[in-house]
């Protein structure tokens, strides 16, 4: 596994985690 591959996987996991966090925040705001 090259460094680039690991970097891309890590960046994408961060982006996906940020998406989950954003949806949780939005849901909390919209439903209360």
């Amino acid at each position: 596994m090259t460094k680039d591959r690991i970097t891309w996987i890590a960046l994408q996991i961060l982006a996906a985690a940020a998406g989950i966090w954003f949806a949780l925040w939005l849901f909390d705001r919209a439903t209360t």
Partner: protein, 218 residues
């Protein structure tokens, strides 16, 4: 179309990460929306000229519909951007993530319903189905293309069933033919007989006969 990951342009990287962010947010919205609808019994309605028995929780319809549409459009954009860039792509995980997370809701609420006791079979069965719909493609994906689908490997997955077996069989036939190529010629026996006759008659010396025979049998 595989470029080295270090050559991914900034604009493409923005598309990849931005669309993945939206897909992830979309699936999470659906997951949360589904849970809040299940909390009030599993169904709700808004709008239309009807008398509504169970209203939806505030904000949930917009978030769920938005989550579906934005998530779906972003999923296509992400698939295009990530596979085209030749980087490890999570696109194959979207379907399993969607079905396994919603299936998880069904299973959890089936065993622990918000109203009453006991197992809710109307939620248990879709839960099991959703988990299977998620886990089977996930397993197949890791068995075949993995996270980095290269164009040739994608093509072999998209080929009609049996195409791979057919290709393997054809390759085996070609290989077998190649191996058989230096097979003995059918006229070799008559050639040998002629040589022997010439040798006996004295037209060929012992030495010449041996040489010719060796060349013929080589």
């Amino acid at each position: 179309m595989t470029t080295a990951p270090d050559t991914v342009p900034l604009k493409r990287a923005f598309w990849i990460l931005g669309s993945l962010f939206l897909v992830s947010a979309g699936i999470t919205s659906l997951y949360l929306g589904m849970r809040s609808v299940m909390d009030i019994g599993g169904y709700c309605a808004e709008g239309g000229p009807f008398e509504i028995a169970t209203h939806c929780p505030d904000g949930v319809p917009a978030l769920m519909i938005g989550g579906i549409w934005i998530g779906m459009i972003a999923a296509f954009a992400y698939g295009w951007a990530s596979i085209g860039a030749g980087i490890p792509s999570f696109v194959g995980l979207f379907w399993p993530a969607l079905f396994m997370s919603l299936g998880w809701n069904f299973l959890q609420y089936a065993f622990d319903p918000p109203f009453g006791d006991g197992i809710v079979y109307g939620w248990l069965i879709p839960g099991i189905l959703f988990e299977l719909m998620g886990v089977i493609p996930l397993w197949i994906m890791f068995k075949t293309v993995g996270l980095t689908p290269r164009s040739t490997r994608v093509r072999s997955v998209l080929a009609p069933p049996g195409a791979k077996a057919m290709a393997t069989a054809m390759r085996a036939v070609v290989e077998a033919r190649k191996a058989d190529a230096p097979s003995p010629r059918p006229d070799m026996v008559s050639e040998l007989e002629r040589l022997t006759a010439l040798h006996r008659s004295g037209a060929l010396s012992d030495d010449e006969f041996e040489k010719a025979k060796r060349r013929l049998l080589a």
